[in-house]
């Protein structure tokens, strides 16, 4: 069976691969969007925090014997807690300053964290096994689909949906949206906005760590795994609109698929196609697809 002159297994295989990459783009850009919306800080430490999630999963397994399922819960909590400490000690001092300061601080912190892990664990990468329950593959007639990859797409989608629901449909979410517009007034109504910002940063970082645990069995656990991904994720965030939740999720999955398809039809462009889309979107709509101008 051929589609557009391409064998179906190849085409669907690349679309699936694109969806998986898209799942990570979506999860990571979601965390960035949540943080940017509330704190007005572009969190360049995000890639390092994603990597920390994967490493914490590895440490939990190697040192404490806590497996994948436990790590999926614990690693985001642990890495989220480090995020909370970072926000309290450092990032909270930058809110009144220009974006540039937040960018420099978080970028520098990211480099430091990455360097520390490289010093300690080397850069060759550590193995992390797929949990027994998610091993194997489904035969979909046109291709074999590894169970774990299907799981990643599903979980990422559920996580994005849950985050969107929390922000759009709950009381906490209404505080977040209101504080994004006018934090001073929300605080004058009696809400502790500084604490809310701390917890928001922690939650965004926890999302990155969660993505890191999901990634651990697919990519090898290594200190650079975040910085490789984060450049693309920033392009996704720019395309989706800074601070737009729905925008980040849709562009995350969408660009993953576009990237996958480019690999089929014009492989030479597959690593640049996202940046081409970014440039086009910025030329046509500087506020991006769903962003606030």
């Amino acid at each position: 069976m051929d589609l557009f002159g391409i064998p179906a297994p190849l085409l669907f295989g690349q679309v699936l691969l694109g969806l998986i990459n898209g799942a990570f783009y979506a999860l990571l850009s979601l965390g960035l969007a949540v943080i940017f919306g509330m704190l007005n800080v572009i969190n360049f430490t995000h890639g390092a925090q994603f990597m920390m999630g994967a490493f914490v999963a590895w440490m939990l397994l190697e040192w404490l014997g806590i497996g994948y399922w436990g790590a999926l819960l614990l690693a985001p909590l642990i890495v989220g807690a480090t995020g909370i400490i970072m926000e309290r000690l450092m990032i909270a001092r930058l809110y009144k300053l220009d974006h540039l300061y937040g960018l420099l601080l978080t970028f520098g912190l990211g480099l430091i964290i990455e360097g520390l892990f490289r010093n300690e664990f080397g850069s060759s990468g550590l193995p992390y096994r797929i949990p027994v329950e998610l091993q194997g593959a489904w035969d979909l007639d046109f291709m074999f689909m590894p169970v774990y990859r299907g799981w990643v797409v599903l979980v990422a989608f559920v996580m994005c949906l849950a985050t969107w629901l929390v922000i759009e449909k709950t009381k906490i979410g209404s505080y977040l949206r209101a504080a994004t517009e006018n934090p001073a007034l929300v605080q004058a109504f009696g809400i502790n906005v500084p604490r809310m910002m701390t917890l928001t940063y922690g939650a965004g970082v926890a999302l990155a760590a969660f993505a890191g645990v999901l990634a651990a069995p697919i990519y090898s656990v290594n200190p650079q795994m975040g910085s490789n991904l984060i450049i693309i994720v920033f392009a996704v965030v720019v395309i989706g609109g800074m601070g737009s939740i729905l925008g980040s999720v849709l562009t995350g999955f969408g660009l993953g698929i576009i990237e996958g398809l480019t690999k089929v039809f014009y492989p030479e462009a597959s690593s640049t196609v996202i940046f081409v889309v970014m440039a086009l979107v910025l030329l046509a709509r500087p506020a991006a697809l769903l962003g606030r101008s």
Partner: protein, 230 residues
Amino acid sequence: MLEIKGLEAWYGESHVLHGVDLHINDGEVVTLLGRNGAGKTSTLRAIMGLVGRRSGSIRFNGQELVARRSDLIARAGIAYCPEERGIFASLDVTENLMLPPQIAPGGMSVDEIYTLFPNLKERARSPGNKLSGGEQQMLAIGRILRTGAKLLLLDEPSEGLAPVIVQQIGITVRELKKRGFTVLLVEQNFRFAQTVADRHYVMDHGVVVDHVANHELAGAMDRLHNYLGV
């Protein structure tokens, strides 16, 4: 209930209040009159802790508020309705109404607020930025009545509204007084202030320069015209 002495305030380098003195008794409606830039809005913002820096004394029910963070000032029992109304565009009417947390028992119920402002009930699901100016003002007042705060700071609720809406706001303020709320009202609209208030403070250049009881207002007109430049 509220006793302000020697209140000074700054926005960055600019010194906007130069020692404001005023007091409000329980259950009163008091206005701050004055020209643009006289310091009326800054006084309300300073009470709420929304200026850069302040000094002096703001005593509310025996507690000193001048050094407190604005969320703790709100929790002491003061609710604020800003001049620009501050309706959140990304929240619908119900979410806007439910946003300020309850800080004490005895606030009005949502049904009572809808009875006061029937328009809001019809627009319950509209986004905040799709409301008319009058509806926004009603929402901005309505949402602070739920919280249980007994002192309301209202910044120019009549500004830019059609006469019939101003009338409705006037009825609301009198109704609030009847229900036992204490109100500090910033106004430029002299005639409107006259229909709702017990007393008036006049501000100029960041200080209170005069004080008139409402029943003496007619006799003080010449003096006030001088201050207000009307």
